[in-house]
Symmetry: C3
Subunit: 162 residues, 3 copies
């Protein structure tokens, strides 16, 4: 087989994948809290140098979530009120029956309700990066959703693209 020798010109337009990871630390103060992390996610995209690709935001907790919504204070109250109505805090959750549950930690919280809420909401959202920017609608903000605070929390951000 005849071998053809190429110069770098043959490769320089080849797209190069970039992979950027950032863990952000958060402090929540209330049981149910919506923390706007939009600027932190935008910063991660900027730091990544990625101009087109995706962002995956994933929470490493089972009583927290991530969601995109409109940052209007009265609406955030509506959201929390609605979620409390769907998954009440004042009914019985078997998860909180520490007498019958196995492997209960000494400082265990009565947070059955928070796990159910997190299950409903999910643990990740994916967004798009285009033209060097995070693609968000005019009214969209990204929220870390604390369902069993106050706590020290993390949120993992991965930017993948080129």
């Amino acid at each position: 087989m005849k071998k053809i020798w190429y110069t770098v010109d043959a490769f320089k337009n080849r797209q190069k994948m970039k992979n950027y990871f950032k863990k952000i630390d958060l402090e929540t103060k209330k049981q149910f809290e919506l923390l706007d992390i939009t600027e932190k996610v935008k910063m991660a995209v900027l730091e990544s140098g990625i101009r087109q690709g995706i962002v995956v935001i994933a929470v490493p907790h089972t009583t927290a979530s991530v969601r995109v919504s409109h940052n209007e204070p009265l609406l955030l109250q509506d959201i929390m009120k609605s979620i409390y109505r769907l998954v009440p805090i004042d009914i019985s959750y078997s998860h909180d029956l520490f007498e019958v549950r196995q492997n209960v930690a000494p400082n265990e919280r009565s947070n059955g309700h928070a796990h159910v809420k997190a299950f409903l909401l999910g643990s990740s959202e994916s967004l798009i990066v285009e033209g060097g920017s995070l693609l968000l609608g005019a009214k969209q903000s990204i929220f870390f959703v604390e369902l069993d605070g106050g706590r020290s929390r993390q949120c993992n951000i991965k930017v993948l693209g080129e």
Copy 2:
């Protein structure tokens, strides 16, 4: 160090990342509407030329969502009825108290309920591309979920892979 010269054969099996973005425009007619966008997403995958990778579908709105479900007309009624029951339209949302809310636009809608619904459903879904096709189950269709229509809407599609 002895330098070894390689031919292009050494690189031609190297996978090349492709990045494809498409914004689709939608017109909704009703307050709550499920628009089947499966064909539009499949077209985007085809146009991308990507044979294996992922698709992220993200809505840039705070009163809309994206979901995968079975396109059966009676079922779509069930889904809408259930979501109306979970987040009723005829109860009070603080977001709609325009007298106390800050920065209310002149043409503001009473759409507290729609924001809450969008929060529950989420703003993105991720799908898989394999063998040049969007991987969907036999009964799966992709829906743009309008929760506060009728409106002119967008839906962002990113295909990432090779």
Copy 3:
């Protein structure tokens, strides 16, 4: 134009995208069941050889979902009880009116409730791979959520990265 000849050294630090796909088969036994698939997803990440990137887990069914939660048996009961309360099985769903519905298969199930549940929960979750491992919090397990079992099911896993 003067052509410059490069050695492989010029390319060997260039990141190479890897694309790994795995379909896992599952057998569910009960109508509503939470199957822990954490080990299967971790295995897929290991097999992919990908050390940094993302994992998309997508179900190709319209009466199943995927979620990340704490694998504590009493909690799993709470989750199922809460979801049954939000989307009851003992109310009427138009999808189950086989007399009026079009194109009903002979072995059709009365599963309107399960479709609504799947719509609420969504069909995908995205996770992050970093340092060769799936990034999961200490209490996080990945669940295939069966909403209309027992059945033979699939779950699609895509690992994308380098």
